[in-house]
Structure formats: C-alpha cells, structure tokens
C-alpha cells in the first residue's frame, strides 16, 4: 500500500547488485546451457487415469468449447 503513495520508488543499484549476486550464487545466471539428462516420459496407470477422468468430469460444466474463427472476412 505504501508503494502506491511513493511512486518515486526506485530500484537501487546496490539492491540490483545484491540480487544479481544472489542469482549467480543460486546458479540462476549461469552462462552454460542446462542439461538434466534424457527426458523419459512416464505413463499414468489405468487406475490413475480413471481417477483423473472422474475428477475432471466432476469439475467441468460440459464439453462446451469455443468456436474457432481464424480470419473473419469483412472485419
């Protein structure tokens, strides 16, 4: 709420430096690429999929979807 009053609030350079240092320390500003290894896709069991389907049916109002109208003529 104070921020609304103090619009002149600035991002101070020393804070930026501290934040950047923290990000580097946390490994967020690494230059090298990120490679966690080979991505393996796991598959849900029938049991779990049935539960998920039941859960979603209980939450959705119905299979109503939007009508697709890509390039309407005449604006």
């Amino acid at each position: 709420m104070n921020q609304l009053k103090g619009i002149s609030k600035e991002v101070r350079p020393e804070i930026v430096a501290a934040v950047t240092a923290a990000l580097i320390a946390g490994g967020l500003l690494k230059n090298e690429d990120y490679n966690p290894g080979k991505r393996k896709q796991t598959v849900s069991t029938t049991w779990k999929m049935a539960g998920l389907s039941e859960l979603m049916r209980s939450r959705l109002s119905g299979p109503r979807y939007f009508k697709i109208k890509y390039f309407p003529r005449g604006g």
Binding site: V19, G27, S58
Partner: protein, 509 residues
C-alpha cells in the same frame, strides 16, 4: 513450375527478412534479437515449422507488413514438442492487429488441442491503432484462449521488449512470466500518462522493469540477465513440466543431493529465535541439490520452486526463516497458493517444509486483506489432489500450520523432525494469555515468565503430542528426510481422489 518456385522462395525470403536490414540493425543495437533469432535460440536446430507465414498479405507483390508482426509455429526442445509465437518488433513495432492476433490464437488453439506447452515472446508496441476495434477484439480472442488453455497446457510468457496497456493481460493469464533485464517492460499506463494524471515522475525501468515486477509487484516469476540466459532458463523450466494435464511429469535419471546429509543435523539452530536458510536443507534433500526457484525475489519469506526426487518432478514449498521469521503474509500467501495450484493442475506432487511462527501481525496486513489472501493457501492445499507430503522442521504454530499442508487438509504423509514444535501458538504468546495474572502478581515476573515458558515448551512445543493424536505420522531423523519423501512419493504416485460435482469452486480472490 520452376518460375513459381522461384517466386515462392523470393516471397519467403522477403517475409523472413521482417522489417528489413535497418530495423533489424536497430533491434540489435537495442540489445535485442529478432523474433526469428529468438525462436532459433530456443528450439532444437532445424525443428521449427512455421505456420501462417503469408497470413495477412493479400497483395503479395507489395508486402506491407511481412508476417503481420509475429512469427508463429512449433518445434522441439529436448525432444518435447513446443508451440511458439514471437512478436516481431521490426514490423510495425510488433503492433497487434486482427491477423497478428489470429496467428497467435491459432497457435494457442493448436497447442491446446495437441496438448503441448506454448511459449510466447512478447515484444510489441501495443495495439495497431489503425485497425481500431479489430485490434482490441484480437486481444480479447487471445485472453479467452489463454484462459481456456489454463490448466490444460503449460503457458509461458517471455517479456523481451515493451508490453503495455491491455497487452499485459495475456502474459498475466499464463502460468509463468520471464522478464529480461533492461529490455523487458510491462505496465498498464506508461510514465507519461502517470505524470499527466498523478504528477509523479518515474522512469520506464522503475515503473515496469524486470526487477520491479520480480521484487515489488510479483507479476513476474523469473528475471534473467540476457536473452541467451532466458533460453537456458526456459529449457530448465520445461524440463520439470509435463506437456499437458493428462501427462505425467517427465522422469530423468536419479542424482544424489550435493553435500553431506550429516549437515542436516546442524542447520536448524537449537535456539528458536535464530534463523537459518531453508534453501540449505532443500539442497541436501533433492536430486543434485537443484531447485528452480519461482518468484525468488518476491515474498522471500516463502520459498517455492521445482526440484526432483529420484528423477521425478516435485513442487517444493518452504517457509524461509531468514525473512520475517518465515511468517506468512499477503504476498507469501499469494505466491504459495498460486504455486500449489499450478502443481495440482499438472500432476506435480507437493512437498512442504514447515517452519512457520504464524501469520504476520500488523495493520497493513489486516487492512490489506490477509484473511482473504491467507485463505487462498487453505483453498489451494484443500483443493489439490496430487500427492502431498509435509515435513515439519521446527515451528508449526496456529492457523499458519493448518494452512500449510497439515493433516486436516488431507495431506498424505506428515513427518516431523525432533526439533518440531507443533502447537496453537508459541510459548511466549501462550504464557501471556494463560498466565497473565500469575505473572503480574508474582514477585519476579520475568523469572516466572521464563519458568512458565520453559514448562510450556517442554509440555506442548514438541512433535510427540501431534504424533500421539495422529496428526503427524512419524518423527524422523533429519538425515532420513530424502528417503522418507521418496518412499512416500512412490507410495502415493498412483493416488486418485475425487470431488463433488461442480462447475468450479470460488477461491477467495
């Protein structure tokens, strides 16, 4: 045929040249890549397939707006199919008109129908004013699709240039916003309008820069130094996520945490008033010590992010005692609730590490609506049907404990370290309420207070009472934390839970 193929090649080259050499030069001078360069940097080489390349250009000989200011298509990242759009600032400032919006809408539709994540690179001057209400409708079409796709596919927005006015609401409706420092800017009204209306002067960067939205407003989730780092972060983020809400999160080879698990015995101080960095605990229990922290700079009293246990993604939520003693406040409540809901959308189990003295007291919090915002955590945990594992590290007091993955909210497994203190409130507060008369009437109030506090701590502030009552499943050696979490995640990986029929709940927004 050859002549026609030559024409096709020439047209394609002209469209791929975007706004032309001069504008591309200016884009580079501003420290920004072009839309096509950004897509090339992200996707695996040669995997990009463009769609609607010629859209909007009926007079093919006079290409007025090549690509209509946006490049759309799909490709792969680490073998995973991704849909992507990148606004092209070199073509009419990346302004959004009817066809520009239709191209983005089509990408969102295809991503939703095929169950693949969508990434949008935002770099646009706003609505194409010449197109009037059509441009506005274009925004509406995109907002609608963002909403429909929410919870079906992961949606990630990258802010790599201006994103102002109504345009900000498309990223706002997506799951994650990444902002590139110095070039990404988001605001509803710019500095000039603010000056005209309120008289206040503020720079563009202070108003809507990457740090402003990562530290102050909480609109953005990640900040990166450069576009190159942004692509690394995108690959990292995608590595944790399934492609859609019906898919399981991906699995990688298991990696041991970095560091000696014996260190877990020395991180939490014995003195309850002293703080410690909860990230040290997280690094010692998750695969390779890797935590991809979400909103790292916002509400630092809570730490949320993605990690892996034996190669499987989990969402980590933890109180951070180094800031506000780890109390829950309005910002932390919003941060935690939104993260738990994201995890629940995409079948990512939730692991909560608790050390919470309570909700943050104060007028600002009460007037700001901590009741309403704090309720979001309760709602999110109660609503979540993914496996929920909780570890109580130290303090677990009052309503804040109940909100954070307590057994009352159907958490599947709750462990407590021997240092855990599960109680209605801390010893100081409890003694003040229970023994106020005795303390004030005693000859040495300070001594009496200390004695009573020690008695209270010995009697109530431990994990065994909760264990005895069945609210906590087990008290564990801190060194067993990782193995207990892994065993629980395996045991509950097949969990299914249903809810009463309803259109949707009414979260306390």
């Amino acid at each position: 045929m050859h002549k026609k193929l030559e024409q096709l090649k020439s047209l394609r080259e002209r469209i791929e040249a975007g706004g032309g050499k001069d504008r591309i030069g200016k884009q580079h001078e501003a420290g920004k890549n072009t839309a096509r360069e950004r897509i090339d940097l992200l996707l695996e080489q040669g995997s990009f397939v463009e769609i609607n390349t010629f859209a909007g250009n009926e007079d093919i000989q006079n290409l007025e707006h090549p690509g209509e200011g946006v490049v759309t298509g799909y490709g792969t990242v680490n073998g995973q199919k991704i849909f992507v759009f990148a606004q092209d600032f070199t073509v009419t400032g990346g302004s959004l008109g009817r066809v520009h919006a239709a191209k983005i809408s089509k990408v969102l539709d295809l991503a939703t129908k095929t169950g693949a994540p969508v990434i949008g690179f935002n770099d646009s001057g706003g609505a194409r004013i010449q197109e009037g209400i059509d441009a506005l409708d274009g925004y509406g079409q995109i907002f609608y699709r963002n909403t429909i796709a929410s919870g079906v596919i992961p949606q990630i927005s990258v802010i790599m240039g201006p994103c102002a006015g109504g345009a900000v609401y498309s990223p706002a409706l997506t799951d994650f916003i990444i902002m590139v420092k110095d070039i990404g800017r988001m605001f509803i009204t710019g500095p000039q309008v603010i000056k005209a209306v309120t008289g206040a002067e503020i720079s563009m960067e202070d108003l809507g820069g990457a740090l402003t939205h990562n530290q102050i407003s909480g609109v953005a989730h990640f900040v990166v130094e450069s576009e190159k780092e942004c692509m690394v972060l995108l690959r990292q983020l995608l590595s944790y996520l399934p492609s859609n809400n019906l898919e399981e999160p991906p699995q990688y080879d298991s990696r041991e945490p970095i560091g000696n698990p014996e260190e877990l015995l020395n991180i939490v101080p014995e003195e309850p008033h002293l703080s410690y960095d909860v990230r040290k605990i997280i690094k010692l229990i998750v695969d390779a010590g890797e935590l991809l922290e979400v909103q790292a700079l916002y509400a630092p009293n809570a730490v949320v992010g993605f990690a892996r246990f034996e190669g499987r993604t989990a969402g980590i939520i933890a109180n951070q005692p180094t800031y506000l003693a780890g109390c829950l406040d309005i910002n932390a409540s919003n941060k935690i609730a939104r993260f738990v809901r994201f995890c629940d959308c995409f079948s990512i189990p939730v692991v909560t590490l608790i050390d919470v003295p309570g909700y943050l007291p104060g007028l600002e919090q009460e007037y700001g609506g901590i009741i309403r915002h704090g309720a979001k955590i309760l709602y999110a945990y109660s609503e979540a049907t993914v496996p929920k594992i909780t570890v109580i590290l130290r303090k677990a007091y009052g309503g804040a404990y109940i909100a954070l993955g307590s057994s009352s909210l159907r958490t599947d497994a709750i462990f407590a370290w021997p240092t855990a203190e599960v109680a209605v409130m801390g010893p100081e507060g409890a003694v003040n309420i229970l023994y106020n008369n005795e303390i004030s009437k005693s000859e040495n109030p300070q001594e009496t207070r200390e004695t009573l506090e020690a008695e209270y701590r010995a009697k109530f502030a431990n994990p065994y009472i909760s264990c005895a009552k069945g609210y906590v499943d087990d008290v564990i050696d801190p060194r067993q934390t990782r193995s207990k979490i892994i065993a629980s995640l395996k045991a509950f990986s097949n969990k299914r839970e249903t809810r009463p029929q309803k259109k949707h709940g009414n979260i306390t927004l």
